[in-house]
Symmetry: D2
Subunit: 371 residues, 4 copies
């Protein structure tokens, strides 16, 4: 299977470049009968879209989604759902410098070597703009999961550069331009981001994603473990360089007597596992951390080479996010939704007959979300 | 596709449980003409096999591999390669306590809920014993990669619990029971591991994997990026809770002017990318770190429940690795080999025609292996 | 993988319903560097499009294709190619009778039972209108195959009902509304089709497809044999009820000494195999026959039931092809092109290294195309 | 996905050559809880195995199956089922003539060109011996289908060469060496087959396969239609050159008013569809016909070339079936079982929620099985 399809049963195939005609995707395998209209998808796109404040790229895109198929009289029919988002603000600027040279830290170099041709306008297919289609698809998965299991998926930024951000409340996340669950550090973050931008530089970030009310039993060992598919999904997002599930890298220093989450009839006593045991969801909350590198397109001049191997000094001007991690929150939510939905369908394919009559233990142990 | 097949073109399908009749796999899509015999595979299995020293499980398995098909007159034929490893040291001990209860931190609980039935003998399919088949398959991929690109893949343990292990030389890795690239700390580590074992406990570890001489151009964006497939592969290994590529979580605090690896006609000036840009290999060395949790089966009594939801106190006796991270080195190497080989074949499927005439820049920048 | 994607390396994912907003597809895995514009695709769509003469449905659709992505400066980039065809002639007629009842021989009944919901407007997803997207994708595969191997793919109708059509010349196929390789029987066929239409009935047809200049070695036994994938592709076309490769059903009465095509240094002496031996292309011409059933939507009143199980008498009015087999010619060509292209890429994935130095035997043995 | 795996959710990956060490397969995605032992599989293998009478190859193989994994305490666990069949009667005869030359009508020529290497012993992977693994896997699918839906799958030979065989009763099929549903023509067929064998020749055959009690709703349009996947499965069997569903090639001469099966509250009035409408099972019996070519390995001398392109005269001695169609009956049953089971699981993946409350119409219309 070519690399632009994600999922096995609930599949999403995306297309589109940063400065091409349009972006979009085809979603196949969606269960029929789900009420769906553009109004279910647009709000997620609006959360991700550029140009909404000074801390993100100033490109102005309506990111207006059109459902092309798969919905009849307001409900999904089980046939493929085509989604289309037209690009509207592709500037006719001169990309000739980037066209001939490779930005340090950017996919320019590898796309050129892999394909021998490269749509250099705005990064082409390697642009994070591609993720709009994922967010649109994820909105459908989110809705289905919510309706079936009351599943909630929430991402928030927990660190920007050296700035750790205290968790205050999930309710704040959509009220600030940084996707932080915090109210009191906003001014500090604004000043920090302003300083980065003025320095013609960019900065990394850390993202936490959680899912609540995940049914037990999702994941297909040994290779398509739920955590393995989550890692695949997250690492497929532009700029992600690291991922942790549950205790993550802290597990290295833990002893077994500390790490292994004890069970009682009232529930688990901890959640070092991050909601996944042996590659299968346990019903506890899923906890994920992502490391997101700084944007590679910066206005600071840097050493590079051109396509002929000659040395050049390259500074990338144009409209770029100084912290690509900020807008990653809705993208990471979408990818997690795609994984969970696909696995929910895969699980019932093989195991519909299963009805384990074990008394359900209470699952939700209060774990600090920043863990 | 069900969850026990890995890869798209070079595929590995594994089977077998810890205490079943046998383990094995079918490798499909292997290019014909590769010289192959059991002697190419057995050394890798020997590196992974249990019982070789006091710091790993004392189960004694020869892990003797038999090639069942796909090889004729000493060469692969392009048809599926069947590999078989019979289990020989499945003890007829009484598993009745584990059969009815869930070990904290173990897959017992989730397998039970997912499938409604569970082969509790030695963890069944959830046992790390399953990885023997991966190592066997990986040996074939390693050989092909070496013959085609001179690719080398090396894993070593860089931390056990709180003990950081200094990198001295790759040559030491196979000379000690800890898979460390170190000569001078062995005694310290032996004492540390002895103390863990005596305390009836277990401990986590950190693993570094590198690949050298990786051809440029491997990876299939946007979903099957090389790093995404590596993350999938690594997180599918038992006990892995975190993964980093290149600078990993250090990227969070980096600025773009620091993270983005500059290029010169003589090569890259750094390798924060870890050899992958935009999801495609750059030709630089690939660098990966893994966080591996402590073994969940420990002899320390812990709270748990049985399959009826009743509270129990559970201590797991038997033969278990006190640090499952140690033997993960050959497994992680195997998984990386599977990913690279699959992507090498995928790359030439789509892009055989491509011959980019850019002067090749020197790629190997000396990067400290523990980064 | 959900059912609306075809292919393994060169993949096509289609979407769209007969009376929905649009049809289209995403083509992934296309090699980069192929010159491509709408002008390469539109002529194939024009061959298939409805309303061009009185013997096909009178629906008027421009079937105008728009390339949304994957092409830059006139060449494919290796990234997904999005294609869009907007519907323009969806009549606002009353479908209420069909909405509640099942047309005999139609997918109405099974879609209803499978999905519990059905877009009854013009057959929804089960309409042959869906094949426009396949034809568009096939045009790209055809072009690539032609440029790489000089492969030609030609389909023509060899029988309509009881009327066998003599093969005269391939040059006639596009000059008549019946896709027949015949000049002298056109008037006879026009009268025959007029009589069918006037009788408010429909009729079956037989289609022959050939491919010339197919490289030797395509096909992935044991399951993805080239003939197996062709059978899959052809039987996925609406209304196809039978398929033959080479001698097909005539093989039943053949002896081995008659069927097995002898080889000489100058080439094969016959082509009972139809160009495929052991599931792998031999380099000879591929020969395929299809049986296509009569259109199920006819104006003759017939017995049926409604969705409540009550008996009804149903006559389907509206715009339908009296012989759906006629327009199947470009569709079958497209599907064969998709199979061959996918297998060409799969072949080089595994076997790029292979250079068999056997003297090539001349391959093209003159076989009557109607065999 | 490489070509030796069949299915999407219930997958079968086979390996093994005619004269290699062993044959076998891995079955992934099997629902847990199915009672299973070798005794469920062996009878199907015994039906297919060679050497049981003078009309088939005289090779003696016990075809004794061993379950290697996936079953615990007599039930499937949901983990992969490994099956192993060791070869025991590989004669050490001299294959040197075949090793250097290509048998007319055989896969020799194409395997050589595809892979550049060929296990010529007994045909290697291209031998029909490979199908033993399919039959073993199919036995599991058959059992599950029978337990869930009471599905029955029956294949029988309806024609050998010019000899049409009258349908008398299904009960006769396993009582004769020809897999015919006939009692009175056995002697005639024995004489006919004796004459073929004495003439050092072989002969084609026609096979009919039916499935009863197939649930409505199986099939994943537009590409993975049930009939398309059946066609794929059947054409993947060695020597199959044609396939029909329902009326098949007779559809060509049918009018819509004749072909379309009318519905009444008491059931369908005919079954030209062969149990599949729009690519989805209708609940009626599925009817399939296959054309099977004569064995290509015959003792009659024929023209061919060697691997250097030189002309040779080749007569194949050794142990071969004079009518490969005979033993195809259990193989075709197995392949149909694999398709139906995979689609049953795929159906419930997407559509578990669906409960159509339409009154079920009686489905089983008596259709002559030879249609």
């Amino acid at each position: 299977m070519a690399g632009n399809t994600f999922g096995q049963v609930f599949t999403v195939t995306t297309f589109g470049e940063s400065h091409g005609v349009a972006l979009g995707c085809v979603i196949d395998g969606c269960p029929p009968g789900l009420p769906l209209s553009e109004a279910d998808i647009q709000p997620e796109l609006d959360r991700r879209k550029p140009g909404t404040n000074r801390h993100v790229t100033q490109r102005r895109e309506a990111d207006c989604v059109e459902i092309l198929s798969g919905v009849f009289e307001g409900k999904t029919t089980g046939t493929p759902i085509g989604l289309l988002i037209r690009n509207t603000d592709q500037r006719s600027k001169d990309y000739s410098d980037i066209a001939q040279s490779f930005r340090p830290g950017h996919a320019d170099y590898t796309y050129w070597h892999k394909y021998g041709i490269r749509d250099y306008r705005g990064g082409g297919r390697s642009s994070a703009r591609e993720t709009a289609a994922r967010v649109a698809a994820g909105a459908i998965a989110k809705k289905w999961l919510r309706e079936h299991f009351n599943t909630e998926i929430i991402a928030h930024v927990t660190q920007i550069g050296e700035k750790s951000i205290a968790f205050e409340s999930y309710t704040y996340i959509n009220d600030n331009p940084f996707f932080v669950a915090n109210h009191s550090q906003i001014e500090e973050l604004e000043q920090y981001m302003d300083s980065i931008r003025k320095a013609c530089d960019s900065i990394g970030a850390k993202l936490h994603i959680t899912a609540r009310h995940v049914p037990v039993g999702l994941g297909e060992p040994v290779f398509d473990r739920l955590d393995a598919d989550i890692a695949h999904a997250m690492m497929s997002i532009n700029a992600v360089k690291g991922i942790e599930i549950g205790a993550g890298f802290d597990s290295i220093c833990q002893k077994g007597s500390e790490h292994g989450d004890e069970l009682t009839p009232d529930g688990f006593l901890s959640n070092n596992a991050g909601g996944i045991l042996g590659g299968i969801s346990s019903g506890q909350d899923i906890h994920i951390n992502l490391a997101i590198k700084p944007t590679s397109s910066i206005a600071t001049p840097r050493h590079s080479i051109d396509i002929h191997g000659k040395p050049v000094i390259l500074a990338t001007h144009g409209r770029h996010d100084p912290c690509v991690g900020l807008r990653a929150a809705p993208i990471a939510e979408a990818m997690l939704a795609l994984v969970l939905m696909d696995h929910a369908l895969r699980q019932r394919a093989q195991n519909t007959d299963i009805r384990v009559e074990t008394p359900e233990i209470a699952r939700h142990h209060p774990i600090a979300p920043n863990t």
